[in-house]
């Protein structure tokens, strides 16, 4: 027990250091309410803000009639107050009434807040298990990082690895080659293994933290590395990596979309600014090198190229006259400049960049398109649901019942061109007799709303809205995966 308290205190301290990381919302069995509740309560209204604010008083008689009967183990419901545990919210009644309601637990539920981290009766694992996991990951990553810096064999191996990488990076080779002394270490392999381990730990950490901003930072670093080294990963790998990194951004809804777009923009702008990152450039440089291998005479260059070449000499020691490698450096710059002329003519430069940007944005966002669409549909459905609650009963029924039908159609439970009243028999077989009976009753109410001029009662409206809620819940449990996608996109 003391060890666990110590670990949790350390976690709090480390969280304070990493204060810019958001913790993922979820249920938590808390130890210190003052430390852990605020993030939870902050997360909660994002889901509940769509519903009307709960009244402070007791429930009205009309609302109590909608409550579960006396056979239920709960004593009563009351409106939600910030600070109430999420697990006590009665979601079904909340959706029905439009007010956030929580259960007032009976005597059997007055258990003290568990601190042992055991699995609770609701089946949810206490996130206190996540606390040492993140801490261990941080610790492991930190140790590895220190290994790179402090231990001599690892450091030398790292230098050797860097040299190998820069050898492969043609575009910056001349500038960074002599910044790192040639290593006498056994080779880059140990460092390479450490790098892989560090990357794996970092990925695990990203997965547990699930912070959109951390993902964005990682994506930006990845872009910079690829662009700086001139060693882009294969296109498919890049798409997959950026897709995985961008996924948590979608949880921010519209902001997430902007962040995903910003992520892609950052990637391609950095690639554009640093040369050597595009395959066509590499291909063009091969052709140019073949041409220029015939001569290294600067006098054969155009006046413009000579001027640029001279300008570059000022900034780069490796191109000073008298340097043994100056000739090679000159040739390299010729390659660079001519590559620019051949592979990216100025008038196409920005156009190509914009096209590539838009195309890549489309390709990378394509797997997200259904998710984005589903999310927006879900929000629309929630907004409509709230709107129906306040509408005149006849209009609400005319709006809500066809939605129930379209859900059943999308989920594959449609009864074709039969009148809705006749669907009951088919739904008894495919779904359940209780649902079929409810559907039949609501079909009669819908007929009354559509075919007659008379007014409908509020109870009839609420019955249809309850059927709509039940339908959404039922479809999620009874549908196959393709049917669920259809339901999310079409219904």
């Amino acid at each position: 027990m003391k060890k666990r308290y110590a670990i949790q205190i350390l976690w709090v301290l480390s969280s304070a250091l990493l204060f810019f990381f958001e913790s993922s919302p979820g249920t938590c069995t808390i130890l210190a309410a003052s430390l852990l509740l605020p993030p939870l309560a902050r997360c909660l209204p994002s889901r509940l803000s769509l519903l009307s604010p709960p009244p402070s008083g007791p429930l009205e008689r009309e609302e109590k009639e909608l409550l579960p009967g006396p056979s239920d183990a709960l004593s009563e419901l009351r409106p939600y107050v910030p600070g109430d545990p999420v697990r006590h919210i009665h979601w079904k009644m909340t959706a029905r009434t439009g007010q956030v309601l929580v259960r007032i637990p009976g005597p059997s539920e007055d258990d003290p807040v568990p601190v042992s981290g055991k699995k609770e009766s609701t089946g949810q694992v206490s996130p206190s298990r996540f606390i040492p996991r993140r801490f261990c990951l941080l610790l492991a990553g930190g140790l590895l990082f220190l290994l790179f810096l402090l231990l001599f064999p690892a450091r030398e191996s790292t230098l050797s690895l860097l040299n190998r990488i820069f050898d492969m990076s043609e575009s910056r080779n001349a500038y960074v080659y002599d910044r790192f002394p040639v290593a006498s270490a056994p080779g880059p392999l140990p460092s390479f293994i450490l790098l892989i381990l560090f990357s794996a730990i970092w990925c695990l950490f990203l997965f547990t933290v699930r912070s959109p901003w951390l993902n964005l930072l990682t994506a930006a670093l990845l872009s910079v590395l690829q662009a700086y080294l001139g060693l882009p990963l294969p296109g498919a790998v890049n798409v997959l990596l950026y897709a995985l990194l961008g996924l948590p951004l979608l949880r921010l809804s519209r902001r997430g979309l902007s962040c995903a777009a910003a992520l892609i923009l950052v990637f391609f702008l950095i690639c554009h600014l640093f040369q050597g990152a595009f395959v066509p450039v590499e291909q063009a440089s091969e052709q140019v090198r073949d041409l220029l291998s015939l001569t290294l005479e600067p006098s054969s260059l155009s006046r413009e190229l000579q001027g640029v070449l001279k300008g570059r000499h000022v900034h780069d020691r490796s191109l000073l006259p008298g340097d043994g490698r100056a000739g090679e450096g000159q040739a390299f710059h010729l390659v660079l400049l001519t590559e620019k002329q051949i592979s990216r003519p100025p008038w196409m430069d920005w156009g190509k960049t914009v096209l590539l940007l838009l195309g890549s944005l489309a390709v990378i966002l394509l797997p997200f398109a259904p998710v984005i669409l589903m999310e927006s549909k879900r929000q629309k459905r929630q907004a409509l649901r709230l709107l129906w609650q306040d509408m005149e009963p006849r209009q609400a029924v005319q709006a809500a019942f066809p939605r129930v039908v379209s859900c059943l159609d999308a989920a594959g439970f449609s009864q074709g061109n039969l009148l809705f009243r006749a669907w009951e028999e088919g739904l008894q077989v495919s779904l359940s007799p209780e649902y079929a009976a409810d559907f039949g009753t609501c079909a009669e109410i819908y007929e009354k709303a559509v075919y007659s001029d008379g007014a409908l009662l509020k109870e009839e409206r609420d019955r249809v809205l309850a059927l709509y809620d039940d339908t959404l819940v039922l479809m999620k449990t009874r549908c196959t995966f393709p049917a669920r996608i259809r339901l999310e996109l079409l219904a």
């Binding site: 066809p402 009148l419 079909a443 007929e447 559509v450 075919y451 007659s452 001029d453």
Partner: protein
């Protein structure tokens, strides 16, 4: 079901066993102020049904056995010279004194007699020697025809068939109904047990109530689409006429009224479609009218789903 009509239905069920659905449709046609054609084999209880209906509804009943020598004047009446008064006196025909007229085997009457009857059905009045005599209200004709023995008959042409609101068929009773029928008639004539539940005035009020049942645009749109679809169906030679559409709408309203509603739904239209349109449809060889109508119901988008 409507309370009064339920009572009438129960009375009729004392004499006709196992045919409740047909009896209800008969009552709907009565409330819709239409005429009924019974196309059946002999001996299934057509006359008994008509007599029971009249007794239960408290209506005046007349029966006409159509034969080839039946004259139009037998139905409409005629003017006769009275020597004492020196004037022509109108002698009313069969149609004049009755609310419900049963014309047995109408297909045996001559074309002229058929025309006279159908004219009276349409206009609810008879004209004899230039003088018009209105018929009793309510006035309903139940005509029967036997499709089996067609020798020596004048089948009703399509134009005449179109004037009947519905065409029903009693058919043979099943085993249980047959047993009940035999048991009932051991000691007592079941017709004697039928007691009146309504009268002329009540029937007229009920007919007025049926006319006030609301048919919204969805229903009218549905009926119109069905009518147009019937004319374009590949197995139909002559589709439904506008009169057929009107009669369907009237019959649907009567169905809604019998269900206790003051508005018509798509279910009402579908429930009465076959009986109202089967005899109006001229199909190409080999196609059964009722099959074509069932196909129409499947093809045409039902009004519940329709967005207007």
């Amino acid at each position: 079901m409507h309370r009064d009509m339920e009572a009438v239905c129960l009375e009729i069920c004392k004499t006709i066993r196992g045919k409740r659905e047909i009896i209800e449709k008969l009552l709907m046609a009565l409330l819709a102020d239409g005429h009924i054609l019974l196309d059946d084999v002999p001996g299934v209880g057509k006359t008994t049904l008509a007599v029971s209906l009249c007794r239960a509804a408290g209506l005046a009943f007349q029966r006409v056995q159509c034969t080839p020598d039946l004259l139009p004047s037998d139905l409409t009446g005629f003017s006769m010279y009275d020597r004492n008064s020196g004037d022509f006196i109108y002698r009313p025909g069969v149609l004049s004194g009755a609310n419900l007229v049963l014309c047995d085997e109408i297909n045996r009457a001559s074309s002229r007699t058929q025309s006279a009857l159908l004219e009276a059905m349409e206009e609810r009045q008879v004209t004899v020697d230039g003088t018009t005599y209105p018929l009793k209200q309510p006035f309903t004709v139940i005509a029967t025809q036997n499709s089996v023995g067609m020798a020596g008959t004048q089948p009703l042409p399509y134009a005449q068939l179109d004037r009947f609101l519905v065409c029903l068929s009693l058919g043979y009773p099943d085993y249980a109904a047959q047993m009940d029928m035999l048991r009932d008639r051991q000691q007592v004539n079941p017709l004697d047990l039928v007691s009146p539940r309504l009268d002329e005035g009540k029937i007229l009020r009920l007919q007025q109530d049926v006319r006030s049942v609301h048919s919204g645009d969805r229903i009218l749109d549905y009926i119109t689409r069905l009518t147009l679809a019937s004319r374009e169906h590949p197995q139909v030679e002559v589709g439904i006429s506008p009169r057929g559409a009107l009669y369907l709408e009237r019959m649907a309203r009567a169905h809604a009224f019998m269900e206790g509603r003051d508005y018509t739904t798509g279910g009402d239209v579908q429930a009465v479609l076959e009986d109202t349109w089967a005899h109006r449809l001229v199909t190409k060889s080999g196609a059964a009218s009722r099959e074509v109508l069932r196909d129409l119901i499947k093809r045409v988008e039902n009004p519940d789903r329709r967005k207007l």
